[in-house]
Amino acid sequence: MRVYSFVKPKKKPLLKEDTKLWLIFITISFILYISFGLFLEIKSYLFKKETKELYNQTLTLKHKIIELNKQKEFIYTQKALYEDIMIKNQLVKQQIQNLLDLIPDPITLEKFYIDHNKLIIYGITPTKDVYNLLMLPPLESIFEQTITYFYELPNGWYKFKSENFIKSEDENQTE
């Protein structure tokens, strides 16, 4: 390439000043559009992620509610059982109190055994009559069947075993 000119051309801008301005504005707008689009995309992604997490949390909470309901049921059952036991204990306590009230002064109580539908009493009585007069009548009024066994001690007193039965509800129903 031969260059013949006495002067060299100055470097010229490719675009006019106003075209440059337009291009800058268009580029800025384009960048803003893309940024806004990206922002929306990221926001949407985060929302989706959050929704998924919330859904998972809901599922976990539902499972927890089921677990808690089960625990609640168990606690209610335990509570009912506790109350039942408490009532029964109260009853037993009352029964023991009643039983102890039944024992007249001359008679000594050695031990007793209370079951669901029977009461077995071991004790010492000075005479059979004392027993038959003071102790047997209340027992017979309470229990349906009363069987007493005596055993004479060397000092002339008697050891006794009193077996007292009441018919259970099941037995009543079968009858």
């Binding site: 260059v3 013949y4 000119s5 002067v7």
Partner: protein
């Protein structure tokens, strides 16, 4: 830059003769996609048009050629060779081509041309540069560029231009040219020219040319000036520049002279001549496109 392939560039070339002749070419990837020729009577109109085009497209390059007498070519780029030819090295600007030869012009003329217009000139060429750009045959050839008001000649010896001259055709300029010749003490050449003009007027060929041509007087004037100019140049060339004979004269015409000028030259100078019609403005634009 890859983007430049897609950018449209305007190349405006112009020069002043009677009027301002201008060519605007729109170029994309070195291909011309649009061209527009204009002629302006005054400088203001030209400036208005060019500034308008520069404002429309910042990629607008303006080019012109120097049509001053203080320019030429020498077969060297060295200062000592300029000094040998009595050229004031400090007051010229030159452009070296292929490190073999250089075109020079006066700094004063160059600066005057630079400041002459309200717009900036991107390329300023010597009038001999388009001739060199177009010159395909470069072995003992004379190229004569014919403009309406100027004649420029470039002589090649051995593929390198070693001789150049430019004259104005109108009378006023001719007087100046005569004074210039007197300066270099070549009055005898002027006498030869005058004699030659008288000879040519007697020739039948010239009469035929005059009949055919619509712009008779001006065309004849150019042709006569051309013949005289070539004869004088040949004389000076053989005397001061080279001993090799010029084998061919090639006329590069922009002024629409008759192609039969070759016959006239062949008859008078006895050297084969060739006529080529060229568009100087197109050539200047091509040079500018190639320069970028």
């Amino acid at each position: 830059m890859w983007l430049e392939k897609f950018i449209k560039r305007n190349f405006i070339s112009f020069y002043k003769e009677e009027n301002y002749n201008l060519l605007l070419e729109t170029v994309k990837n070195k291909n011309i996609i649009n061209s527009q020729k204009k002629e302006f009577e005054n400088k203001k109109e030209l400036e208005k048009f060019v500034i308008e085009k520069i404002n429309e497209n910042p990629q607008t390059y303006t080019s012109t050629v120097l049509l001053t007498l203080n320019q030429g070519v020498i077969n060297s780029c060295q200062k000592k060779d300029y000094l040998k030819r009595d050229i004031d090295y400090n007051n010229i600007q030159f452009i070296c081509i292929n490190n073999q030869y250089s075109f020079y012009t006066s700094i004063y003329d160059l600066n005057k041309t630079k400041k002459e217009y309200k717009f900036e000139l991107d390329f300023i060429y010597s009038i001999f540069a388009p001739i060199d750009f177009l010159a395909k045959e470069r072995k003992n050839r004379f190229y004569v560029l014919v403009l309406k008001e100027y004649l420029a000649i470039l002589g090649y010896e051995d593929f390198i231009p070693i001789f150049s001259d430019i004259i104005t055709i109108n009378e006023k300029e001719e007087e100046e040219e005569e004074e210039h010749i007197e300066d270099i003490e070549e009055i005898d050449i002027l006498d030869d020219l005058t004699e030659n003009i008288e000879d040519i007027e007697d020739l039948d060929d010239i009469e035929e040319l005059e009949e055919e041509n619509t712009t008779q007087s001006s065309s004849t004037n150019i042709e006569v000036s051309l013949l005289n100019f070539v004869q004088a140049s040949l004389k000076e060339y053989y005397e001061n520049y080279s001993e090799d004979f010029i084998e061919k004269i090639i006329i590069l015409d922009t002024a629409e002279i008759s192609p039969s000028i070759t016959r006239l030259l062949e008859d008078e100078i006895l050297i084969p001549a060739e006529y080529k019609k060229i568009d100087l403005l197109e050539t200047i634009n091509r040079m500018s496109v190639e320069s970028l």
